[in-house]
Every structure is written in structure tokens, then in C-alpha cells.
């Protein structure tokens, strides 16, 4: 099949074909290789692929650097290990009856001693149980890190990653200490005992990897994945678009941990033993190296890198060593004959980390920014031309509706280090208005926006939207209530495409959660399609400036297009109140005019607009009202003409006249 023909196939079809081919190759491998040792190595490698995929969710998707990931590997391993070996000796009680009935535990009768319960839980339900257990630990370990910056977050996770093996080593009653667990029961499927042959584990591992890949792809291309990537790119902006960072960070930790737990259970079932040394810091680093090498966030990269490094460890280095020994014999070098390359594995890891960080941070095989596949109708979407701006989901303000207050701010104050950034500001914005906020540098305009949108908390005063208090709510909740904003210095999600940026904007208006993301019931699929439709509509508002670029990454856009994308993203939140912070900054006069036409048109959609802008002639031209701030105080308010000629305003901008010298 020619490359062009391949590319012409729709994405879903290509994926299905690839999946079938890969699974077929995977299934055929054991029979083709003919060597049980290779199959065993491959089965072990699958463990690492699972770990890498799990860490990829935490580090790659959500951008949370977890240096203690081996902790979840350990919890999954010991979770199953304890449940499936004779380690725990608890006293028998009737509580265990139902489990004994199900064949998961037995009553051990030893003459002269109280009866004890012996665990031998079956593998398959334990897969699910340990996954859930690890998810809970993921939340537990992740919770303290929520407010921390990148490297501090990493250190805390490192701390937890250290505590777990130490506990495993020292809590001998539970884990048999440094000796580790032994005699762990192997899986049994419909009477077939897995035993010690690598073949069943190979297929089980292949299945688990396929599951993890499927899970990762589904999550990545969903509302959840977009929320994670938004947090990774710019947590502040993500919150301003309605993403609840607490919820999604914990979700990432939980899912990543669950996959790690699967890996642990699988690995330990195959080895039938678990010791604390299997879960130390170098293991966490090894998984990190796999993710860094493959490309953070790149599913295919991570799988390939994990396979490569696992085989490096188990097979390749050994063969290389043999080769070097042979070379040593050839040139009669004692040094070469003695080298054992396997001990330099960690050295190789270190070198990989350093080289990748310096030269190729995006990884060897980074993810291609791929957008949700567009339907043919969507692909043919034409930019809207003409003056009338329509959005299918917006409601234009009724012309006869009485003016009502949309935003009421009363005596709002905020101090920073003793200086009042906002000093008892009171103002009202009525529905349907276009109000401009002006003032010299440092007058508190952006602070006002930050207070309204919940980025900073007020010291005193009240902020009411449609009569309900929003001061004190977190940013993402305020977005849900209907307030959206853009930023003075543009905060786009740089590595996401234009379309993805907009879809994040819709986050608070969509509903799909993790389950919906993974299973994609019809309701969720319809929701996604509608979301893309709406995004295309909004992009169309900008003529043909953004539509042709909808799958371009945001960092590559021109300055003016970045501004437009940010505004489009804010519109996607379906706001009642839109706060634009210097939207025309850096734009030339023609671009400014075009933008301002759009802003005016937005009013026709029933969106109330508050604008911070310095190009005062622009402001004067289109505002219903102008509010002037100076040193955090509202010094003037009124129609543009009044304000421009107000003595106090002129003085605020130009400075007070000097006393006669």
C-alpha cells in the first residue's frame, strides 16, 4: 500500500489496522523466536512497558514529575504478594467465611494453636484490587504535592518513593522484610496453571500492555487528557479556562499509580517472589529514563523506549559483552576481556538523561500533535464572512430587556506588601455593556481582573455575578459561573494545537469524565463532536486567520494569531462576562481594527465585555462606559467623552503639574 494511500485513510481505520498488525506480530513472536529465553525476556520487558506507560500518564500527560513511581510498583507487587502467599498469619474469625467459600482463603488448623487464615487469593480479581489500592495510594501521595512547584513536587514524590521500600524492608510481619515474599501463587485460568513457563505470562503481559496503550490513547484524546495537558502547559491558564487542577492532578496520580499496580502484580506473579530491593530509587529512575527517552507524553515513543531499554538490560548488553570479550581475546587485552557491560547499565541511564535533556527534550519519537479526527463536514467548514456574527449556542440579548446588573463589585480591596493594589473599588457592569478600564501603569487594572476571576483572593469587599457572590471561589468555579478572560501576556497552551486550545476552553461546558473518556459511549462521542463543531464555529469568526491553522501548535503562530486564539478560547467557555486584558497589544492598526470589530460583534451574542486597553482612541470609540483607575482607586467613571476631558484623569496619566519652582 503506497504511503499516499495510507495517509488518505481515516485515522480510526489506520489505527485499527496497526493494532491488528501489531497484535498479530506480538502473538506470533513466541512461536517465531523458538527460544523460551527470549519469550521470558519479552514478558519481563512488558512489565517495564507497563510501568513506563503508567508514568507517562503522570509525567507525560499531566506534567507532574514523579521520582518515586516505583512505590506503586511495590504496592501492586506486595499487595498481590501478601494476598497470594502464606505470609500473613492472622487469627481465624467468621469474617473470613465468605472468602473461604469463594476459595480465596483457607482455614489452617494446627493442633495446639489458634486457627489461622491462610491467604491464596486468585490472581485475576487481585489485578483489579491492587489497581484500586494503588490508585488510592496515588491520591494519598499526590495530595501533599498539589501546591508545589515542579521540582518540589518531584522531591516529595521521591520521599514517598523511598519510604515504601524502607517500610517493606522493616515491617517484617507484613512483608517478610529484606528476605522478601516467597511462594506467591501463580495465576490460574480456567484450571490452567501458569506455573513457571514464560509463555502464558508473555500473552498476559501483551494483553496488559495493549490494555494500557488503549487506555492511554483514549485518555489522551478526551476531555480528561486535554485537561491534563492544559495543566502541564500552564496551570494558571488551565484554571482560568475552568480546569480544576486538584481534581485532575489527583486523577493523573491515581491512574498512573493504578497502571503501576498492574505492573507490580503481573511481575510478582511471574517471579513468584518480591523483595524490597526490586523497588528502589534506581528503578524509579529507570522508568523515568524510558519516558524521557521515548518522549514525555508520546505513547508510541514510550513503548518503544521501554522495550529497547528492557532488552538492553536483559539481552543486548550481555551479547555486547560477549562480543567485547571476543574482541579482547583478539587483541589480547585483559581489560576488554574482563568488562561486564551489564554493570554499566545505570551509567547508560545517566548518559541518556543528560544527553536527552541537553539535546532533545521532546524525546526520540515525540507525539505528533493529532487532533480529534474531523468529520468530512467539519473539514469543509468555511470561515464566516459578513458582518453578522452568529453562534448557534449563544443568545443575543433581547433589545427590550431592562438593563440589569451583571457584575457588582463593592468596596473591593487587596494589598500586596503594604501597597494597596485595589483600594475600595466599587463598580457595576450591566448586562450587554462594553466597559473599558483604563489607567496608567500600575493602577491596578490587571489586579482587578485577577480578583474577579479568582486568581488572587480579595482582602475585603464583595464581587457578585448575577447577584451571587463569587469572591473566594476558585478560578475554575468562576469560569463555570460564566466569567472568562484573556491575559495581558498571552497564556496559550503552547504545545497544543489551536483546536485543542479551544477545546480546553470548553472544558467547563462538557461532562465526560475518566470513564466516559475511556469507554466513549455514544453520549460522549456526540458531546465531543458537538464540541468540535462549536470550536469550528468560533474559529470561523476570525475569518480565515485561524481555521486553516487549527491543527498547528500554538507556539508556531504569529503574535496576532496567538492573541486571536486566546480570545477564541475564552469565547469557548460560553461566558456571560468576558474580560479582555489588553487584547490589542502588539497589533498593528489594521489588526487592531479587525479585532475591535469582532469584540463589538460579540456583544450581539449577549456577551458582556470589560476591556483593559491602552490604545485609548480605540477604547473611546467603542465603549459604553469608561472606568479610570489610578493607584488602585477608581478616580473617574462615565461616558468616554466625559472621562477624556476629566482633569483628574489627565493628571493621573500625565502627572500632576509641579509646584512653581
Amino acid at each position: 500500500m503506497g504511503l499516499a494511500r495510507w495517509r488518505a485513510l481515516p485515522l480510526a481505520r489506520r489505527r485499527h489496522i496497526l493494532a491488528v498488525v501489531l497484535l498479530a506480530v506480538g502473538a506470533a513472536f513466541p512461536f517465531l523466536s523458538g527460544n523460551a529465553g527470549n519469550v521470558d525476556a519479552a514478558a519481563n520487558a512488558f512489565t517495564y512497558v507497563l510501568l513506563a506507560l503508567g508514568l507517562n500518564i503522570v509525567v507525560g500527560f499531566a506534567g507532574l514529575l514523579d521520582l518515586g513511581y516505583a512505590a506503586f510498583f511495590a504496592i501492586g507487587a506486595y499487595g498481590y504478594g501478601i494476598a497470594a502467599s502464606g505470609q500473613l498469619k492472622l487469627e481465624w474469625s467468621s469474617l473470613w467465611e465468605p472468602l473461604a467459600f469463594m476459595g480465596q482463603v483457607s482455614r489452617l488448623v494446627v493442633p495446639g494453636q489458634p486457627d489461622t487464615v491462610q491467604f491464596h487469593f486468585a490472581f485475576w480479581p487481585m489485578l483489579a484490587v491492587t489497581a484500586i489500592l494503588c490508585a488510592l495510594f496515588g491520591v494519598l501521595f499526590g495530595a501533599p504535592t498539589l501546591r508545589l512547584r515542579g521540582d518540589y513536587l518531584a522531591i516529595v514524590t521521591l520521599g514517598f518513593g523511598e519510604i515504601v521500600p524502607v517500610v517493606a524492608r522493616n515491617w517484617e510481619g507484613l512483608t517478610n522484610g529484606a528476605q522478601g515474599l516467597g511462594g506467591i501463587r501463580t495465576p490460574r485460568l480456567f484450571g490452567y496453571e501458569f506455573g513457571f513457563s514464560p509463555y502464558p505470562y508473555y500473552f498476559l503481559g501483551l494483553g496488559l500492555v495493549a490494555l494500557a496503550v488503549w487506555l492511554s490513547i483514549r485518555l489522551q484524546e478526551s476531555r480528561v487528557g486535554r485537561a491534563w495537558m492544559a495543566i502541564r502547559e500552564d496551570e494558571l491558564a488551565a484554571g482560568a479556562m475552568g480546569v480544576n487542577h486538584v481534581h485532575y492532578k489527583l486523577l493523573a496520580f491515581a491512574m498512573g499509580a493504578a497502571v503501576g499496580g498492574l505492573a507490580g502484580t503481573f511481575y510478582v506473579a511471574k517471579l513468584t517472589t518480591a523483595t524490597p530491593d526490586m523497588f528502589t530509587f534506581p528503578v524509579s529512575v529507570m522508568v523515568l529514563v524510558m519516558v524521557v527517552l521515548g518522549g514525555m507524553g508520546s505513547i508510541r515513543g514510550v513503548v518503544v523506549a521501554a522495550l529497547f531499554l528492557a532488552f538492553l538490560q536483559s539481552v543486548i548488553l550481555q551479547e555486547l559483552t560477549d562480543w567485547v570479550h571476543a574482541l579482547g581475546r583478539l587483541v589480547d587485552s585483559g581489560f576488554l576481556q574482563r568488562i561486564e557491560l551489564i554493570t554499566s547499565l545505570e551509567l547508560i541511564f545517566g548518559v541518556i538523561l543528560v544527553l536527552m535533556m541537553i539535546f532533545r527534550r521532546e524525546g526520540i519519537w515525540p507525539a505528533v500533535r493529532r487532533v480529534s479526527a474531523l468529520t468530512p463536514e467539519q473539514q469543509a467548514a468555511a470561515p464566516s464572512r459578513g458582518a453578522a456574527v452568529q453562534l448557534s449556542w449563544s443568545q443575543a440579548a433581547r433589545a427590550d430587556a431592562p438593563p440589569r446588573a451583571l457584575l457588582e463589585i463593592e468596596s473591593l480591596s487587596k494589598q500586596f506588601g503594604g501597597v494597596a493594589a485595589a483600594d475600595r473599588i466599587s463598580l457595576i457592569v450591566r448586562a450587554g455593556e462594553l466597559v473599558s478600564v483604563i489607567g496608567p501603569n500600575g493602577s491596578g487594572k490587571t489586579t482587578l481582573f485577577n480578583l474577579i476571576t479568582g486568581l488572587i483572593t480579595r482582602d475585603s469587599g464583595s464581587i457578585r455575578l448575577e447577584g451571587r457572590e463569587i469572591g473566594g471561589l476558585p478560578a475554575h468555579a468562576i469560569v463555570a459561573r460564566g466569567v472568562a478572560r484573556t491575559f495581558q501576556n498571552i497564556r496559550l497552551f503552547n504545545n497544543l494545537s489551536v483546536l485543542e486550545n479551544l477545546l480546553v476552553g470548553e472544558h467547563s461546558r462538557l461532562q465526560a469524565g475518566a470513564l466516559g473518556a475511556v469507554f466513549r459511549p455514544p453520549r460522549v462521542r456526540a458531546e465531543e463532536r458537538a464540541a468540535v463543531d462549536r470550536a469550528l464555529e468560533v474559529l470561523g469568526l476570525f475569518g480565515n486567520r485561524l481555521l486553516p491553522r487549527l491543527d498547528h501548535p500554538a507556539y508556531g503562530l504569529s503574535y496576532a494569531n496567538r492573541r486571536r486564539t486566546e480570545i477564541a478560547r475564552a469565547i469557548m467557555t460560553q461566558p456571560k462576562l468576558l474580560l479582555l486584558d489588553e487584547p490589542a497589544a502588539g497589533m498593528n492598526p489594521a489588526e487592531t481594527l479587525e479585532l475591535m470589530d469582532l469584540v463589538k460583534a460579540l456583544r450581539g451574542l449577549g456577551i458582556t465585555i470589560v476591556l483593559i486597553e491602552h490604545k485609548l482612541d480605540v477604547v473611546m470609540d467603542m465603549s459604553d462606559r469608561v472606568i479610570v483607575l489610578d493607584h488602585g482607586v477608581k478616580i473617574a467613571e462615565g461616558a468616554p467623552v466625559e472621562v477624556r476631558n476629566d482633569e483628574r484623569v489627565i493628571e493621573a496619566y500625565l502627572g500632576r503639574r509641579r509646584r512653581a519652582a
Binding site: N441, G442, G586, V619, V649, Y653, L654, R659
Partner: protein, 242 residues
């Protein structure tokens, strides 16, 4: 009449970019020895970038900057400071956990091996007696106005030929602003050439000899301070057309 010594700073045809954003679009101005020259402009006019460009913290993509005839636009900041340009940065930027004296010592860093520390210190304390009283106080515990004094004093420690001040009035109460501009006059009276970048038009033009007005990265007005002050176009540049 403004005192006109030889040409000290020649900023010619300078363009700068911030990523894709074109900030300075061919800005030119001159400063002669002995003058006070003010560069004015509203927000987003590009005036802060100007000082950073003079100091070498931002490199021009086009154009030249000459100081006493020598090009400086490709030099490192430490070199530029050694040649006699001293900055009073926007927002003061004093070192908060160092004392007043230590801050002054840092101001004199490029001349640290030269003798004359005591003389320089005395001169500066003469201008700012408040600093002398509190010489061991940590800079971070001082008020905004006092920090501004310190920032100016720190810049004067190298006995610079050109003092560059970036928005000295920012964040200060009006009366303190008057004091600061009084001091600018006094320093100039002692012979230092001063370049003041300011948003506060009235204050700046009341002490400057000449001024330039920047708007959207271009110089739109220039001339003697007294004339500029009365020019209605200034109001337009800041507040939009009538």
C-alpha cells in the same frame, strides 16, 4: 538654554524584538553631556525596553548605540557599566537582604579595585543624609521612597558619566515624586548627565532640558522641555485623539 557639551549617547535607528513582537521600531535620540533628557511614553510604548537596550540586557536587531563615540550595543552589561553608564532600574531593585552600605558597595562593583571609596561614599551621603543615618539597615525594610534614594545613590557610586533612570516615580506618593525630581536636578547640577525614562510627563518635563515622546515603539514628538509641556499633542499621545 540647555547646557550642551559633546554628544554622549547616540541611539540611532534601533529596532528590537521580543519573540515575534516588534517593540522598538527605529528609535533615535541623542543625549549631550550635562543635560537632563527625558524619554516619555504611556504603557506599551517601549520605553522600558529602551533602557534595557542601552544597558545591554536586550540586543538590538538593527541600529547602533554609541557612547562617547564608541559602539556599545554589542557589549556585555558589565563592560557598558564600566564605561560610565549607571542604571537606576525600574522598581528600584535594591538588594533586599543587604545593608545600605553593602548595596552601595555593589553599586561601585565595577570600580571595586580603585581607590576613592570613602570620597564616593561621602559624596553620596551628602546628597542623601537619610541613607547615612541608616547605613546598616537592610534595604528590604525601607520604604519605597527610601529605596528609590538608595537606588539612585547606588548608581552614583561609580561616578558615572550618564545616569539612566527608569521610571523613578513609579509607585511613589506624589510628594516623594517631587523630592526625587528635586534630587535629579541637584545631581545634574553637580555635573552628571541624566537620562530619565518616565511616564509622568509633567514631572519629567519640569526638570528635563529636552524630551522625546515614544508611542508604540516610535518617537512621535521631540523638542525642548518647555515647548513639549505645552504641546497638546502630548495629551493626544497619552489619552487618544479628541
Amino acid at each position: 538654554m540647555s547646557p550642551r557639551g559633546p554628544l554622549l549617547l547616540d541611539f540611532r535607528g534601533v529596532h528590537t524584538h521580543y519573540g515575534p513582537l516588534h517593540v522598538l521600531k527605529g528609535v533615535s535620540y541623542e543625549i549631550y553631556e550635562g543635560e537632563i533628557v527625558s524619554l516619555l511614553g504611556g504603557n506599551a510604548s517601549g520605553k522600558s525596553t529602551t533602557m534595557k537596550t542601552v544597558l545591554g540586557l536586550v540586543r538590538p536587531t538593527e541600529g547602533t548605540i554609541r557612547f562617547r563615540g564608541e559602539p556599545i550595543h554589542a557589549l556585555r552589561t558589565s563592560e557598558i557599566v564600566k564605561r560610565g553608564i549607571a542604571p537606576v532600574p525600574e522598581g528600584r531593585r535594591v538588594f533586599p537582604r543587604m545593608t545600605i552600605v553593602e548595596n552601595l558597595e555593589m553599586g561601585r562593583y565595577t570600580r571595586r579595585s580603585e581607590p576613592g571609596w570613602d570620597a564616593d561614599l561621602d559624596r553620596v551621603f551628602g546628597l542623601f543624609p537619610v541613607l547615612k543615618e541608616r547605613r546598616q539597615q537592610l534595604a528590604g525594610t525601607m520604604s519605597g521612597g527610601e529605596q528609590q534614594m538608595l537606588a539612585i545613590a547606588r548608581a552614583l557610586m561609580t561616578n558615572p558619566r550618564l545616569l539612566c533612570m527608569d521610571e523613578p516615580s513609579m509607585g511613589l506618593a506624589p510628594r516623594l515624586v517631587e523630592d526625587v525630581f528635586d534630587i535629579i536636578r541637584a545631581i545634574n547640577g553637580q555635573g552628571t548627565t541624566i537620562f530619565v525614562i518616565e511616564q509622568n510627563v509633567n514631572m519629567a518635563l519640569s526638570v528635563a532640558h529636552r524630551g522625546y515622546v515614544l508611542q508604540m515603539g516610535e518617537v512621535v514628538l521631540s523638542g525642548a522641555a518647555a515647548e513639549l509641556l505645552e504641546n497638546p499633542l502630548i495629551q493626544k499621545a497619552y489619552l487618544g485623539s479628541a
